[in-house]
Symmetry: C2
């Protein structure tokens, strides 16, 4: 048994039932250990969640940061961010649901450290939106921050209805959303 296997089952269970509704006994059953034996491998239930959320947000931060920091026009960066986001969602649906919606169950320092990571995500979207406006690619807009975090909200919400074996591929959805979003930002 390894911490990674425990984390794997915890991701499955947290994404299915949400953190407070998953007992340590659910996790220990899934990895065929007795409840107390979990603590050989992990520190606490909350620490398990923390690591999952950190890794989940990290997946998005590490993929999207170089896209936003690239030299491309903002329009291309928006398109790349959206298609990258949807591909990551397809490949990481369970951990994404936890990272985007269940960080609220963290407390104290754990919560504070995750809020910083979330701010980094928001910052990426603010940056590409304001870059596009500054470059004259996007319409000037009264509240660029509202536009940016609404885009984050739109993309986050896809995790609630996206299905890996659904009729629409991640690329189909990304193309559809990019067209609409870029139409709204330009012209």
């Amino acid at each position: 048994m390894s911490p990674a296997q425990i984390e794997r089952e915890a991701i499955r269970l947290f994404s299915e039932k949400t953190y407070p509704l998953v007992g340590m006994r659910d996790i220990s059953d899934a990895v065929e250990l007795l409840p107390g034996s979990l603590y050989v491998h992990i520190t606490s239930k909350e620490d398990l969640l923390l690591k999952i959320v950190e890794r989940g947000i990290g997946i998005y931060l590490s993929a999207l940061t170089p896209i936003v920091e690239s030299e491309k026009p903002a329009q291309d960066r928006i398109r790349d961010v959206i298609s990258s986001y949807l591909r990551l969602l397809d490949a990481n649906l369970d951990i994404t649901k936890i990272a985007m919606f269940q960080w609220r169950y963290l407390n104290g320092e754990n919560l504070a450290s995750i809020l910083e990571l979330r701010d980094q995500i928001d910052g990426l979207f603010v940056r590409v939106v304001t870059d596009g406006i500054a470059a004259g690619e996007f319409n000037s807009v009264r509240h660029p921050h509202v536009v940016a975090i609404s885009l984050v909200g739109l993309l986050s919400s896809t995790a609630q209805w996206y299905s890996v074996q659904g009729a629409l591929s991640a690329d189909d959805i990304a193309e559809q959303l990019s067209d609409i979003v870029l139409g709204g930002l330009t012209g």
Copy 2:
């Protein structure tokens, strides 16, 4: 003591800490009753959540349905739906957070009945989007359903960052979002 007062405190507590993290003893403390005495007024914790979620979704359904069913151009209806949504959010922030995000804690028939209400909400947005395309007001689009539920997702997500005493009014935000969304749908 009335069921309405219990519901009022439950809304405050559920929106602040989420349903599973609120104990019946938290609620009974808030209304200055002993835990067991709550059950003179309510049936169960889950029934309390059910009624809150039903009422919360009902607020949006009853306001948005006549807007979507009006004879106005789809563009005007989109603008009206967005501004109405933000005004309702401002006036009902706590119950909105519960109605939009905490229905997941319902089970069985309770969950099923709420999923029907949620489908009605989605249906309103699908309708106004497809109407606008049919009328030639909006660009033809490969997946109108994706556009519609993404708009629902965007609006739902506002409950997670909107603050009643924030720098931006609900009307400011609605105007900003309408401009972007209509820009994306038209032209």
